[in-house]
Structures are given as C-alpha cells and as structure tokens.
Amino acid sequence: MYDPRTSHFAALKRIIRYIQGAKEFGLHFSPSTITNLSAYSDADWGGCPDTRRSTSSYCVYLGANLISWSAKRQATLSRSSAEAEYCGVANVVAESCWLRNLLLELHYTISKATMVYCDNVSAIYLSGNPVNHQRTKQIEMDNHFVREKVAFGQVHVLHVPTRYQYASIFTKGVSKLLFDDFRSSLSIRPLPTSTEGCIRLYIHMFTFIVINNLILSIISMILCQVLGKNMSIGYHKIR
C-alpha cells in the first residue's frame, strides 16, 4: 500500500471495472441436502514473483451451497508443485474439520467423509500413502495430519480434472468461458428477479405461441367448415 506501482493501479482499476459489470451478482442459497461436505483445493506453485511462495485456495460446499472459501499465500516455501498442493489440501482439511464440528453442534452430524477434490495426482498419493521419499521428506510435519484424517475415514482426497477445478478461479486469471462457468458453479448468480423475468418472458412467449396456434387452428376449422358447407352447397347446386 505504501509504494504502489503503475501495474498495481491497473489491476485495481480492472477489479473495479469487473465489479461494475458484476454488481447484479450475488451468493445464492438453495434448498439442498445437509449431509455431505465437499471441497475443492488448488495451488499455484511459486506464484508470488518476489518470495516464490505458492498461493493456495479452496472452496467448501455444504450440499449444493457454497459456505466457505479462501485464497491465501502460503506461509512456507514449497520445493515442488505437489508439496504446494498438499499444503493447500491440509488447509482445506483443517477448515472442513472446523465445519464438521460446527455442524455437530448444530445437530446435523456429517456421517459421510468430506470429499476433497485436488487436481494434482502426487498430492493425492501423499495424502493416502505414509511413505517419505527423497522429494517429499522436507514437508512440514503439521501437514501430515491429512493422512490421519484419511486413515480415520473422515476425508477422501480425490482427483478432479483442471477443467472442473472451481478453486482455480482464486489462484489465477482464467479465460472468460471458464470464469463464467466457475462463477456459476460457486453459486454466484444474477439477482433472482432478473431470472424470474426471463422465465416470465419465456412463459409469455410460450402462451403467445400456444394462443396463436389455437386461434389459427380455430380459424382454419371454421374456414374448413364454411368452405366445406359451401363446397357441399356448391356440390348440391351443381347436382
């Protein structure tokens, strides 16, 4: 804050321009099951150009509703992308433990394991396999509580393709198409009145078409009858 650069100001202006376009958007809660927690965790390895620390991010869902999210630079430096991702998984497991306890107190016990989705295969192996080898022995001990949670069956760490990694919206800039897709998956949607308006418009169009068809068919029926009569009259006349 005390020594801003031109690039920082440009980024700030970009954010303000973005929120200007997205001011009608908000967080949406819909009725859903409250029996399962799922989480997405992502990290960009060495994302900070000054310190080379990684940024990890996560989002946690209760049923279909987004309830918690975070994007934060990690406190320690990682030697590999797997380590950075593994630290991110540890962060989200810590958050999900807190949420499980909270839900326990609210008398909604989560009996199923928390599903943690991560797009790094090595990090998934690290969470399930209690072996250390040359490239992972430096990982801080406190991150290995993930293994205990996995062993107790409270957490499952699963793989998700990068295309469906919703948490990556917090760590890096993504293209417009992905951004819109991820944003709607994070239950960030426009004001419901506008969607209701859309639905109403569709209903109007639908009724308009139905009524038009009805009128047309009635007209054609009458025409047919009248013409038929005329034709029969004509036929009689001719006969």
Partner: protein, 259 residues
C-alpha cells in the same frame, strides 16, 4: 456523583449527535448519545479484557444454508442501547457530561454503575450479559463459534447469531419464535425487525428458490467514490497472464489515489 477521589484516572465524555436513517434512506430520528473517550482509559487500571466476539462469516452461511433447506423462519432482531446494560467489573470515573454540570458541586465526578458507549470494556460487558441470560433459558454456547447460541430440545431447534448488537434468530417453528421473543423481551428491549433482509451491510432477498445475498448498493458506492461510473465493465476480474510483483515496475505517481 461522588467527590473526586485523588490519583485516579477520570475519563472524558462527549455528546454525539447523529441522524438515523431507515434502510430506504428516509430520516428516522435524531439521536444524541453520551460517549466516553475510551482512549483515556489505562490497561489494568480501568479495564482488563476488551475483546468482543463477532460471528464468523462461514458460520452465518452454514446456518443460512440449513435454514433455507429446512424452510424455517429467520428473523432479525435489534437491541436498543445494547451497550448501556452491561455491568462493569472495574471502577470507572467520568467527568460530568457537558451541559449537565451540577452548579452546586462542579468538582464532583460520576462513578459509573453500568457500561457506556465508548468504554473499552463495553462490548465485552454486553456480550457477557447476553450470553449469561441465554444460558439461563436453556441455550448452549457453541464451542466452534462463541457468537452462536444453540437451543435444542426434542424436535425444537433455535439458533441465535450475535454480531455485537445485531442478532439473527432462527427457529424450527413460528410458535417457538414467539416464545423466544417473549423470553428475550423480559430482559432486553428487543425489536423484531421481521424476516431477514439486511445483515452486516449485506442485503438478503428471500424468494421461491431460496435466499440471495448481494452487495449491488455497496458496489455502486465504490464506483461512484472512485468516479468510474461510465467506464466499460470488464468480464473477468484479472488478466490471464498477470503476476504482480511488489517491487518491480514503474512507481505510481499518485499513491493517495491508489489508497
């Protein structure tokens, strides 16, 4: 009113006048409030602990998620002059309020019996009073979030979320809601503001498909403050290739504008 004791810290006080507005912008009332200058207080002498617990945003979202799924009534309550009720554990002296000085005893000072706005310990005193009252009527204080209070008896469930003096009350039935309101009214001057529509500066909108939280008013305020109303809006929030460094790049000419 007591005679001024020697060698004690006496806090100053001022009157604050404020126009209170309704949520639609109309003037509601003029409010004047006597506040104490908390900066005159000294740690250990005038106060010990100051923290006031505020509810975590994730807790609010978890509770909202349950409420929407179960279709329970959710109401917003307001406590009038919440901070004036807390009991003080320390002896605090205050100068006589300006405009209300006693002509006969101009050198006397006020010995505070109850908490006042501006005191360092006022939020904590209020929290403790509220929490102890709730525990007497059967609520349990959550361990995961101390600003969450839970009442669970058979099929009856009540959650109370406390953010300083803003309260969200949700109950599993309308009858239970009335019971809780009556119980709260016996101790505090509670106003039921109706179904949740505005909490912590975030407007909430209930509709047939659930609940919707948005901040469009806040966004408009920011944009008008930075005078960028007519700018073209961006589709995404950041560039796909940008990595910002704290030290590289040209220095920005006007740092105060940035802040």
């Amino acid at each position: 009113m007591v005679t001024r004791p020697p060698d004690v810290n006496i806090t100053r006080c001022i009157w604050l006048f404020k126009h209170k507005y309704k949520s639609n912008g109309d003037l509601e009332r003029y409010r004047s409030r006597l506040v104490v200058n908390g900066r005159c207080q000294q740690v250990g002498i005038d106060y010990d602990e100051t923290f006031s617990l505020v509810v975590k945003p994730a807790t609010i979202r978890v509770v909202l998620s349950i409420v929407v799924s179960k279709n329970w009534p959710i109401h917003q309550l307001d406590v009038k002059n919440a901070f004036l009720h807390g009991h003080l554990s320390k002896t605090v002296y205050m100068h006589q309020p300006p405009g209300f000085r006693d002509r006969n005893n101009p050198d006397h000072v006020c010995l505070l019996k109850k908490s006042l706005y501006g005191l360092k310990q006022a939020p904590r005193a209020w929290y403790q009073w509220f929490a102890s009252f709730l525990s007497t009527i059967g609520f349990v204080n959550s361990k995961s979030d101390h600003s969450l209070f839970i009442y669970n008896h058979g099929h009856d469930t009540v959650y109370i979320l406390l953010y300083v003096d803003d309260i969200i009350l949700t109950t599993s039935s309308h009858f239970l809601h009335d019971t809780i309101i009556t119980a709260l009214r016996s101790e505090f001057s509670v106003m039921d503001l109706g179904p949740l529509n505005y909490f912590l500066g975030v407007p909430a909108k209930c509709h047939s498909g659930g609940l919707f939280l948005h901040q469009s008013k806040y966004v408009e305020d920011i944009i008008s403050r930075v005078k960028m109303v007519n700018f073209k809006s961006a589709l995404t929030s950041v560039d796909t290739k940008s990595k910002l460094s704290a030290t590289s790049g040209e220095k920005f000419v006007d740092p105060t504008l940035y802040r």
